[in-house]
């Protein structure tokens, strides 16, 4: 009896969740229909946006190449993400630990955060060699570095004074204050920054490819497909980049859910 009731409840919950997703799915469906039939009917030319089915066909025809290219570019992005984010975290710890240092550097970090870093992409090719993945990894890393640094630093330092007084009353040392208070306190800030960084890393890797790189990389393939007027292939590659970007972002979001299960933002899911 109870198991049946339980099963019914679960079905109900599933139904309710499906209901919540329905409008979004409808919009998705409408988007595809518009892309496939409405835009061509309005006279949108193939070089502006080829019909969806042609893009899918182009993807299927060169799927091996595209998947390999996607994997290469994704590795560049991931490398840059890991490198940039870890460096940023370590820097943030140091700046939070030695506040005068942090205060001296903060204005420059905020300014650097506003610099359009992709502008450096052609330069990194000169630094690391046009065929080296490192030129793309470094662009992605620098793109990730500043938002993660600024957000982490904010998270490490925006601790309620009483939380620190409490640790002081227990005669806790700095390592303990960082481990037990500052770092956990920073995690919500860190994860919002990591989500932004996952997107920036993909942008950095693809844009890095645009300025030259191994012909097997995704960005290079987009550029060459466009120059050969193979718009369907170019769009298929863009689609691969988009899917990878979304998957990257979603994986970070899943880790966040798990790491921040104590956070009030997960309220809806509790019990």
């Amino acid at each position: 009896m109870t198991t049946i009731a339980h099963g019914e409840r679960r079905n109900l919950a599933l139904g309710r969740r499906a209901g919540r997703w329905l409008p979004a799915l409808a919009v998705f469906g409408f988007g595809l229909v518009a892309w496939q039939w409405i835009l061509p009917a309005l006279g949108v030319e193939r070089f502006l946006l080829p019909p969806f089915s042609d893009v899918v066909t182009a993807f299927w025809d060169s799927r091996d190449e595209l998947v390999r290219a996607g994997w290469i570019t994704f590795k560049e992005a991931l490398g840059g993400f890991v490198l940039g984010c870890s460096l940023a975290f370590v820097f943030a710890l140091a700046l939070a630990r030695w506040r005068p240092l942090g205060n001296a550097l903060m204005p420059y970090l905020i300014a650097a955060n506003a610099v359009p870093i992709v502008a450096f992409a052609p330069i990194t090719n000169a630094w690391f060699g046009i065929l080296s993945p490192w030129s793309k990894i470094v662009i992605a890393a620098v793109l990730c570095f500043f938002p993660v640094l600024v957000n982490t630093l904010r998270g490490l330092t925006s601790v309620r004074p009483e939380s620190l007084e409490l640790m002081r009353s227990y005669a806790a040392g700095q390592p303990s204050v960082f481990r037990r208070v500052r770092i956990p306190n920073s995690l919500p800030f860190v994860f919002s920054a990591l989500k932004i960084a996952s997107v920036l890393a993909m942008i950095g890797a693809v844009v890095g490819d645009y300025f030259g790189g191994s012909t097997e990389a995704l960005g290079v393939q987009i550029v060459s497909a466009v120059s050969l007027a193979q718009y369907e292939t170019a769009w298929a590659a863009i689609l691969v980049a988009s899917i990878l970007g979304i998957a990257f972002y979603a994986s970070v979001a899943v880790v966040e859910r798990f790491a921040l299960r104590w956070h009030p933002s997960t309220r809806g899911e509790a019990q």
Partner: protein, 274 residues
């Protein structure tokens, strides 16, 4: 039961000697020449208008703020030494729980820092959960608790390592009247069970009278002690204590002491808060 008057032979847990605290260069005098002795087992309330330095005095006792002149002795040691020895537990107006720790993990924080092993920690935390009546909520995170429950966790955390001295800075100030009265009774029960010494900051006259063995009345600008009112209500106190004529007499006495401290307008403000 007799009043804990000066010179009853019990040793001083807290001894403040001519403590002065000024903030900024030649700025506000938060505390002026405070002399105060708190003996073992006492329940002392510090009461006064906002800005009288009662919270500052509590922080000076806890070595969270340094006095400008004068000194504090805790169990005969300097306040600094006492803090390093973890001689006191502290409770703030906000519960100051760590959001990422469950009830159990919050309570065991001072034990972790004190290097207790896992098994001892677990059994001690179980006792504490029992003491503040939170069984069933061990695995809850702070946001899943009401304000009163959060404050109980905070009290359990302060008591977990059995400090002989408990410092409380308006711990029930943010709670509704019903919860506050219930927690007052609970605090008195814990105080009686643990035999600890309490220094309690409040701006509620009736709360101070109900809880304390002595009420220390302070005045503002500069912050100083104007009167000490011994509370001779019978122990243990119960909900009925609040209806005894003697309770009202003492409330009046404390209120008049506050008036005498030259804080008429502030007293009016305080009474509005109650």
């Amino acid at each position: 039961m007799s009043v804990a008057d000066v010179g009853d032979g019990k040793e001083a847990v807290v001894s403040a000697q001519r403590v002065t605290k000024t903030f900024g260069k030649g700025g506000v005098t938060a505390l002026q020449e405070i002399d105060l002795e708190v003996r073992r087992g006492e329940f002392i309330s510090l009461i006064g208008p906002s800005g009288c330095g009662k919270s500052t005095l509590l922080r000076v006792i806890g070595d969270l703020v340094e006095p400008t002149t004068g000194k504090i002795l805790i169990n005969g040691k300097s306040a600094h030494r006492a803090r390093l020895d973890r001689d006191y537990g502290i409770v703030f107006q906000a519960a100051v729980l760590y959001d990422w720790r469950t009830v159990v993990k919050n309570i065991s924080l001072p034990l972790e820092l004190g290097g207790w092993d896992r098994a001892r920690r677990a059994s001690r935390v179980r006792e504490m959960v029992e003491l503040v009546d939170l069984a069933g909520f061990e695995k809850h995170y702070p946001w899943q608790l009401s304000g009163g429950m959060q404050q109980r966790v905070s009290i359990a955390r302060a008591l977990s390592f059995s400090p002989a001295l408990l410092l409380m800075d308006e711990p029930f100030g943010a709670l509704d009247e019903m919860t506050r009265e219930r927690l007052n009774l609970e605090l008195l029960r814990i105080w009686a069970e643990t035999g600890s010494t309490v220094v309690f900051v409040t701006h509620s006259i009736s709360e101070a009278v109900f809880l304390s063995t002595r009420v220390v009345v302070m005045s503002a600008r500069p912050g100083r002690i104007t009167e000490v009112v011994p509370i001779d209500l019978e122990q243990p106190r119960t909900a009925e204590t609040r209806e005894e004529p003697r309770f009202f007499e003492l409330v009046t006495e404390v209120r008049e002491a506050l008036h005498a401290g030259g804080a008429d307008e502030v007293v009016a403000e305080l009474e509005g808060l109650e």
